[in-house]
């Protein structure tokens, strides 16, 4: 009842997905204090906008436009050169900026391991646990119907 075949993600795609699902406070809590960070310059945003969600006809067929969703995006560049990006569902400019900042910091080989362990690993574990909790509730409603004699003659 979990995604049967998650597409293999690159490490960066994986941490970006975790950051997108976190909230601003959870990211801020685990980032080093500002005076220990390189400076950064906002290149674009954080800005609110929309994404047109696409479905597929019949689930697997031709794409169609379903409806829009709100997103917030941010791109910034660290003084050390890394460019971080975040696009997150919903409207929270602070979340988008912190996610972009974390994305940039995680691209710095000197910082990656410590930040991944302090920030991404616990967030990912929490998100996995939340997914598991839903899957466990779903599993409890798994049903085996027994067909009786057909009612129609």
């Amino acid at each position: 009842m979990l995604n049967p075949e998650p597409t293999p993600k690159t490490p960066r795609q994986s941490w970006m997905a975790v950051l997108a699902r976190a909230d601003a406070a959870a990211i801020a809590d685990q980032l080093p204090p500002n005076d220990l960070l390189p400076g950064w310059r906002l290149l674009r945003g954080p800005e609110a906008g929309l994404i047109m969600l696409r479905g597929r006809t019949g689930g697997a067929g031709a794409p169609f436009n379903l409806a829009e969703m709100t997103v917030t995006r941010c791109t910034l560049r660290l003084a050390t050169g890394q460019v971080g990006h975040a696009t997150i569902a919903g409207q929270d400019p602070r979340h988008a900026e912190l996610a972009a900042l974390a994305d940039a910091l995680l691209q710095d080989p000197a910082r990656h391991a410590a930040l991944h362990a302090a920030l991404i690993a616990p967030l990912a574990a929490g998100q996995d646990a939340a997914r598991e909790a839903i899957a466990a509730r779903a599993a409890a409603t798994r049903v085996q119907f027994f067909a009786l004699q057909t009612m129609r003659t």
């Binding site: 997108a20 479905g55 006809t57 409806a67 969703m69 919903g90 798994r142």
Partner: protein, 361 residues
């Protein structure tokens, strides 16, 4: 018929708005409603406002519902108006419902389908008795849990398609139609129809879907599969060039399966109707799927005689924001129009009275 511009009335309008705000707040002795409560506890209302507002954002939808005093068409209207203020950054990759984190998955056509059936948080088997315990704020018992099964849950339509039992879709246009950017021509392509139905009024879709079951363009539908759960949204930002996952949305998907007798050139197979709705919305997804199937009549060479098979009728009237705008505009001043009508009626009556008097002489 047209309405006319009028001036004045500002003070009365301000007073009306103030009274409305006061009425919305209700009894000040009770705590004010927090939109977060609506988001958390009136989830189906949020789903519907998002679908008809054509905008996925649970927080904004909850705020719109609070502002609209629970009037869901008004809430959808507020969301539609708000979305026009935001730039569109692009389109998502097509949502992959095969990879949905399943909360509910049922099939009315296969008892033992691969991956099994999961009821999810449903009201289907309740007795529709009012639960007076809710008045006392009783906490519900914790939902039971069981070991999650990791068996894949292929879509039922794909299982049938693997046996060549489903009529394949015709090849698609490179870029899907977008009814928010260009009005679809008639007859509209299926992608434009699905987009219209996805934002259509649930009551209208339900009535039309029901009509197909009652013989108005019927094609004997089966609920092949209904699945509900979270799906990841992916986009490809231009500065990255690869897909990123920006979060999850909850969707309900319905595949209706209908018999298709075949033609001289095509074997007998099944056809499908497709429904996809925000949130947990079986009724909306099922009604959408029924109407989607009915609207395929022309493509399948069926007689299109019923209202649900008439794309111009269905798509022209499904949008409740358009509908409420046109119906409710009748409240606006039509003084000039009506004055001319009343004069016409008086004239006709005067002529008739004269004719009668002359005939009597």
């Amino acid at each position: 018929m047209a309405y006319v511009a009028v001036k004045g009335g500002e003070r009365a309008i301000e007073a009306a708005h103030a009274w409305r705000a006061e009425a919305r707040r209700g009894d000040p002795a009770l705590p004010a409603l927090d939109p977060a409560q609506i988001e958390g506890q009136l989830g189906r209302a949020v789903d519907r406002a998002m679908a008809e507002g054509s905008l996925y954002d649970r927080k904004l939808a909850a705020l719109a519902i609070a502002q609209a005093e629970g009037d869901l068409i008004e809430a959808a209207f507020l969301l539609r108006a708000y979305r026009t203020t935001l730039p569109r950054f692009g389109a998502s990759l097509p949502l992959d419902t095969e990879r949905m984190a399943i909360r509910r998955r049922i099939s009315a056509i296969f008892k033992d389908l691969p991956g099994g059936q999961v009821l999810g948080p449903t009201t289907d088997y309740t007795h529709r008795l009012l639960d007076f315990g809710l008045r006392d704020g009783q906490a519900p018992p914790a939902a039971p849990v069981a070991d999650p099964d990791r068996a894949p849950m292929p879509r039922v339509a794909d299982i049938l398609a693997a046996e060549d039992l489903i009529r394949p879709d015709p090849p698609a246009a490179a870029e899907p139609a977008d009814i928010t950017r260009a009005a679809p021509g008639f007859p509209p392509p299926r992608d434009a129809r699905l987009q219209s139905l996805a934002r259509g009024d649930e009551g209208f879709l339900l009535g039309l879907g029901y009509s197909t079951q009652r013989g108005y363009g019927g094609s004997h539908p089966f609920a092949g599969e209904i699945r509900m759960g979270a799906v990841s949204v992916e986009i490809v930002p231009e500065e990255l060039g690869f897909a990123i996952d920006i979060g999850e949305i909850v969707l309900t998907e319905c595949q209706m399966v209908n018999q298709f007798a075949g033609t001289k050139t095509e074997p007998a197979r099944f056809t499908t109707g497709y429904g996809l709705a925000f949130g947990h919305a079986d009724r909306r997804a099922m009604a959408m799927a029924l109407v989607d199937r009915a609207l395929q009549a022309r493509e399948l060479g069926e007689d299109a005689t019923a209202p649900a098979q008439d794309a111009e009728f269905v798509l022209g009237h499904a949008d409740n924001i358009e509908a409420t705008g046109f119906v409710e505009h009748l409240k606006l001043p039509h003084y000039v129009d009506f004055q001319s009508e009343i004069e016409a009626v008086r004239r006709l009556r005067a002529m008739a009275a004269t004719a009668l008097a002359e005939a009597a002489e």
